[in-house]
Point group: C2
Chain length 229, copies 2
């Protein structure tokens, strides 16, 4: 029994190693450009080990998008547990997405696969829909809490926020290899908040803008500002 | 002499045919995924005809990005000639980018190539920089004209606007194959304008939001609204 458990643990580790290696290859070479040969080479494994876990490149790609999905759901739930006003949680959401993109190769590979597959057919939209749905629910709560002007339509607002974030990170990737992403997301809220927060709550804008998830590492832009509290 | 001119005209037409065919292939299969073989097949030409004009796939891709660049410069100049306030020209700029993406396969191919090449190294950033620089100049003029709050930093604002537009179109692509792009760009300005236009100009927001370039076809969202005037 113990030998079986040990074998299973090794299989789980090998699978994770394949997925990490594949993510790096997909991120650099794209879904179409990445070959199973290169993925095997980058993961430092044999063909047999890979085929034991995955039947095809498509199955690997699907697994990466599913892991990206799971990561986003986990962080969305973590943000939901924060004791912060909903408008601050929306700001946290964007900084958390930025953090994942910068630090998690599986998230970056998932984004690249999603974009590539959605160019000619309906691609995997789940990760976008997760963030949009969460943002929509937070927007509804923020309206009730008086932090978002009541004439804002939550579904359209959520779609805009996730869209704006997505492109802010794309332009940061093209122009600065994402090194300025944290600063650019902060800019986004600087331009957006005055128009969506009711006038009587404008004194709170600075606090809202600086909101970060407790779980997330301290953001560079925050380090230059006085501590919250 | 007349025969030479005729031959030249035919060469120009063949070249344009190759570029259009290549753009469609790059858009669907990406830079890495597209082979010269498929490009030749899609363009309905011989290998010899292609190699007479282009030495490699890279040269073709470079040509498409350059054409995208030329298209964006031409439309930026056309918008610059409009007799509209600068803030309206910024709105026009976004709707013009949307129109080009929906209607011009060379622009779509250029975007895909840019994104793909910028994933592992510094990709061609020119098309983004064109729009950002134009938007920055318009933002400076809009501040002077009193339509943009003076504490807005034009370079950061321009980068945000082009970034937000970029992602709004990405999410529209993933979720709706870009069929709702015009409406989503209109949403973007609905959420953004109240926070960036000084309070005393708020009565103008509706007019600013409806601004469209005269050269551009009437937008769907405009068709539901009373005519400008």
């Amino acid at each position: 029994m113990w030998v079986v458990a040990q074998q299973q643990a090794r299989a789980v580790e090998t699978r994770a190693q394949i997925v990490r290696g594949a993510a790096e290859t997909f991120e650099k070479q794209g879904y179409v450009g990445a070959s199973l040969g290169t993925i095997i080479e980058n993961a430092g494994l044999t063909k047999g080990a890979l085929y034991f876990h995955f039947r095809s490149k498509e199955e690997l790609a699907r697994c990466i998008v599913a892991e990206q999905h799971a990561t986003s759901i986990a962080s969305v739930e973590a943000i939901g547990r924060e004791q912060a006003p909903a408008i601050e949680q929306i700001v946290m959401l964007c900084h958390e997405m930025a953090r994942q993109i910068v630090h998690d190769p599986i998230v970056r590979a998932g984004i690249r696969i999603t974009l590539e597959l959605s160019a000619d057919e309906q691609g995997p939209a789940d990760p976008y829909l997760d963030w949009i749905n969460t943002c929509e629910q937070l927007a509804r709560r923020a309206i009730v809490q008086g932090d978002l002007t009541p004439d804002i339509d939550p579904p359209r607002f959520a779609r805009f926020v996730i869209g704006a974030f997505t492109g802010v990170q794309t332009v940061s990737q093209v122009l600065a290899q994402r090194t300025d992403l944290e600063q650019r997301v902060d800019d986004m809220w600087m331009f957006l908040l005055p128009g969506i927060v009711p006038a009587e709550r404008h004194p709170d804008i600075d606090r809202i803008r600086k909101a970060r998830s407790v779980g997330a590492p301290l953001a560079r832009v925050d380090a230059q500002l006085p501590p919250r509290g």
